[in-house]
Homo-oligomer: 152 residues x 2
C-alpha cells in the first residue's frame, strides 16, 4: 500500500515548493460533470463544443481547482492539513488530454493557529498558466505517515 | 432530453438569486478522490476518519466548490457563462449524506466585457453555512436553450 508523509507547521518554511501533476482524461470530465451536476455540453458534447469560442470540449474550471486542492492535501503540507480558503483565477481553458502541473509555494507563515499561505499555480503541458490563486491552510501539528486507500 | 436556459448579461440585475441543491453520496466522495487525486483517508477510510477531529469521513472541501461552480453554470447565469474567478472560504465540514444548497446572488454588474459578480453561499441541511465566497463571470451575450446530455 502506498504511503505519503506530510510537513508539520514547524517543518515548513517560506519559499518551500512542491509540484503535483494530473492528466485530464475524458472520463475525468464526465465523472466531474456527474458528481458536481454541471452537465453543460461545452464539457460533454463534441459537436456542440466545436461551435463555441473554445473550438472543442473543455474541462470544468473547478477540476483544476480540485487538482490544486489535491496538491495541498497530498504534498504540501500534505495529510492533516485543514483547508481554510482558496482563491482561483481561471486564465486559460483546459482540454481533454492536457497534462496539468500544480506548483505550490509557501509564501507566509503565521504562528497563530499554524496558519500558512501558499501561492498556487497550474500550468498545462505547454507551460501556459491555466489557473492561479492563493490558499490558506492550517498546517498539521503532528508528523504523519499515511497509508493511502487503494482506488476500488 | 432535459433542457435548461440562461440569463444574458442584459437580463441580469443586482439582487437576482438562484439556488442549486446536491446531496453528497459516498460514491461522489470516492469519485472526486479518484478524479482529483486526493485519496487522503479522512475522505475514504471510516476507521481512520473516526479518530480525527472530524469524528468521521468528510467530503473534500473543493467538492462544495464544484457545486458552486455547477450552480453558476446551470442556473445563474447558466449556459454560456465564462468563469473568471472564484474565492472560497471553507467554514464547516461536509459529511456523506449531507444535502448542500448553493445560494447565488448577483451583487454587481460592470458593462465592460459583461462582467458580473455573484455572492456564493453553500449551506447544509441544518442551514449551517459550509462554504462562502465570490464569483466573477463573463455573462452570456446570447439567450440559449441547451439540451443537456444525459448521464451515461
Amino acid at each position: 500500500m502506498p504511503t505519503i508523509s506530510n510537513y508539520t507547521y514547524d517543518e515548513l518554511s517560506t519559499g518551500q515548493r512542491a509540484t503535483f501533476a494530473r492528466q485530464v482524461s475524458d472520463r475525468d470530465i464526465e465523472g466531474f460533470a456527474e458528481i458536481c451536476g454541471d452537465r453543460n455540453p461545452v464539457h460533454l458534447d463534441d459537436e456542440f463544443a466545436a461551435r463555441t469560442a473554445f473550438g472543442g470540449r473543455i474541462a470544468h474550471g473547478m477540476l483544476t481547482g480540485a487538482f490544486i486542492s489535491a496538491a495541498l492535501a497530498m504534498t504540501l503540507p500534505g495529510p492533516g492539513t485543514v483547508y481554510l480558503s482558496q482563491s482561483l483565477r481561471f486564465r486559460a481553458p483546459v482540454k481533454p488530454g492536457d497534462e496539468i502541473t500544480v506548483e505550490l509555494e509557501v509564501i507566509e507563515k503565521l504562528d497563530r493557529r499554524r496558519r500558512v499561505t501558499l501561492d498556487c499555480k497550474a500550468y498545462n503541458q505547454a507551460r501556459k498558466l491555466v489557473v492561479s490563486g492563493t490558499a490558506e491552510v492550517m498546517a498539521p501539528e503532528e508528523k504523519m505517515m499515511i497509508e493511502l486507500p487503494e482506488p476500488d
